[in-house]
């Protein structure tokens, strides 16, 4: 860490006094501003000390989910921007699970969408709405091309 010496300074008024060659005048009006007048024999700084220069805002950045670190995109000293991805955790498992669900999701969305559109047009769409149970859901999506054409048929009929 950087060592820093903090020394008291002078206010504008005290500085003006010094340039005039007069001793700084301490009045109650300016007392809160005037700390000291360095240079004069009686004008010692109020405080001389060593300390640390530190960042006002610093944070230990953690992870939101547990896992193995797949990549780290920084070293000590790297500048980062707000919102920038600085590290990634392995997520092949989530990708795999999502991929496993994807065809089903797409199928059920299009079928459900067709059902909803058909229903909005006032067609008597009882059948497929009744088939929306979770177990049947899966079957239906596997047969999604047929389901789609059936739904399209219903739309056409309406």
């Amino acid at each position: 860490m950087l060592g820093a010496a903090a020394a008291a300074c002078v206010s504008v008024r005290a500085r003006a006094c010094r340039t005039n060659g007069a001793r700084p005048r301490w009045t109650s009006r300016t007392r809160h501003q005037v700390v000291a007048s360095p240079g004069g024999s009686t004008a010692l700084p109020v405080l001389v000390a060593t300390g640390y220069v530190v960042a006002r805002h610093s944070s230990d950045v953690g992870v939101k989910t547990g896992g193995r670190l797949a990549s780290l995109k920084f070293e000590e000293g790297t500048r980062v921007r707000k919102g920038e991805v600085i590290a990634e955790i392995e997520h092949a498992d989530i990708d795999g699970a999502a991929r496993g669900r994807a065809p089903r999701r797409r199928g059920s969305r299009s079928a459900a969408g067709a059902d909803a559109r058909a229903a909005r047009r006032g067609s008597p769409q009882r059948g497929s709405a009744a088939r929306a149970g979770e177990g049947r859901h899966h079957d239906r999506c596997r047969r999604s091309p047929r389901r789609k054409s059936a739904a399209a048929g219903v739309v056409g009929r309406a």
Partner: protein
């Protein structure tokens, strides 16, 4: 029709959940700054609550980021002088390294 719309809403919610789960595997910088401490390496297992052996304060942190645009000086003040200090006093800071 309600059931079909519910199915769409449910599917959309599942998409959001998956997207959020994937987003949670990204660690993003909370503000502009500089990495001042690297606390993990590639291949290490991390958790939001830290791992055994890690200081509890670090609690799963992988990096310490500081905003060096705003600095402050921390110094100790003796009892003799603390009463003489008031807010907004001007002060001069000298850095040994930048003379």
């Amino acid at each position: 029709m309600k059931s079909a719309e519910a199915a769409i809403a449910s599917a959309r919610a599942r998409v959001r959940v998956t997207e959020e789960a994937i987003e949670n595997t990204n660690v993003r910088a909370p503000f502009d700054g500089v990495v001042i401490k690297k606390r993990a390496e590639v291949g290490e297992t991390v958790s939001p609550f830290g791992v055994a052996g890690q200081a509890s304060r670090e609690g799963g942190a992988i990096a310490t980021i500081a905003d060096l645009a705003e600095l402050e000086v921390q110094t100790e003040v003796s009892e003799n002088t603390v009463a003489k200090l008031v807010g907004a006093m001007p002060a001069e800071v000298k850095l040994q390294a930048y003379r």
